[in-house]
Symmetry: C2
Subunit: 255 residues, 2 copies
């Protein structure tokens, strides 16, 4: 059994910690939480510390802190035989203090503490410096998820950027649609089949083929009516910019 | 059995025609297609005409033409006892020539000829001028779909605008993510679980609660790195505008 220490107590830690602890191939022996107050034991009965000097010897340290804190936190881990991995899509492998054996264990998913995720379906992107270390991470990742990928730092950063578009930005467009529905007393849930179909169609046909709508067919009358109907300047700007970008993609000048 | 004539041969007609014909409550007796060449009978064995003066008497004329053509096409239908409906999200009821009994039969979904759609799950938004006519449309719609809504012209136009955000614009963001993946030799399909989870989470939590990512947490280091990594000016503009809009939504000034 792999002895694991989890560093962090945010969204990623809250999902990875139980998944690793229940993987059957690893035990979480300790959690580090900067914001620890009076609870030295977490929900799973695992000891929690707020002192980086009190970390236990372990085979694997999984660092689930913000990108900016990776260097500082890993600098304070006393070097031992354990492998130190971060869980960030954006930070390079070298963000981890150079004294350690280093790796990356990046779960490509949107995590909120309050929202359960089926971890089996979360792609886990791995990177390590040696084949042995990669194998160690691979064993753990495959015990947690059905989708394990070997991805280098550059590719992972590209994936993270792509993920911002398909998750953060897509969700913001859902939010704008939600506001339009509320303003016009139409339930947002009417859009549910369309939202699901949009995702399904892009994945099956590819998004280039799946595109439809007034922008693609240069229906300027509808476009103008839509821009006028939008309530906020920022919504109008987003409408115009995305319409323009779709029209560029389909290779005709805007009329 | 309702006798139905379908006018049009585009994406919507290609899905609505068989659905109506196989509904069990209606028979499509004729299709009008402007672009008819030498095939006076369609795939379902239904007679096709390209002459609006040759339309048969029917209970219902379902007009599946572009918004701009609704007025002109319906003007040429000889008035009889039949109800004339259009299928547009954006056009008002009054787009139909005033001499007719008028209605709307708007399927809120993304249709491509080549991509099968489970019509049972497509919301159908109905509008009519009398209760009798609404009942007639309701019977047909419920024989086709499990999601039938009564929606007035103003609400339907808002829904159509919201649909442009959750479908056309979301799909374009998928397209940008696809380009980023191709450029960096990462398979787009790695993003599949994230795309599905994003939709599911927004529908369950609501998009305001579901938002995560560098924009929302004002992680300017990551934002700057992302903008630099994007290849095209139009991608950078979209990234900046959506990031700014998310930051406005969550009520703090951009740092």
């Amino acid at each position: 059994m792999l002895k694991v220490v989890i560093l962090g107590s945010g969204n990623i830690a809250s999902h990875l910690l139980p998944a690793i602890h229940q993987s059957g191939v690893a035990t979480v022996i300790q959690q580090y939480s900067r914001s620890l107050k009076k609870h030295p034991i977490n929900k799973l009965g695992i000891p929690v510390t707020n002192d980086l000097n009190a970390l236990k010897p372990a085979d694997l340290y999984v660092v689930c802190v913000s990108d900016d804190a990776i260097q500082e936190v890993t600098e304070q881990i006393t070097p031992n035989t354990g492998l130190v991995v971060h869980t960030s899509g954006s930070a390079p492998l070298s963000a981890i203090a150079s004294k350690h054996k280093k790796g990356v264990f990046y779960p490509l998913q949107t995590f909120s503490k309050s929202f359960p995720v089926n971890i089996k379906s979360v792609p886990i992107c791995l990177e390590a410096e040696t084949e042995d270390e990669l194998n160690k991470l691979d064993t753990l990742a495959k015990a947690i998820s059905e989708h394990v990928h070997y991805i280098n730092s550059e590719q992972r950063q590209a994936l993270h950027l792509a993920a911002v578009f398909v998750n953060n930005f897509v969700n913001h467009l859902y939010h704008i649609a939600f506001e339009i529905c509320v303003d016009n007393k139409v339930p947002f849930t009417i859009l549910e089949p369309l939202i699901e179909e949009t995702a399904k169609k892009a994945l099956q046909l590819g998004p280039y083929q799946a595109q439809t709508g007034p922008a693609k067919r240069f229906d300027n009358k509808t476009i103008q009516k839509h821009v006028e109907a939008l309530k906020f300047i920022s919504q109008k700007e987003i409408y115009n910019l995305l319409t323009h970008s779709i029209q560029e993609t389909y290779g005709r000048k805007k009329l």
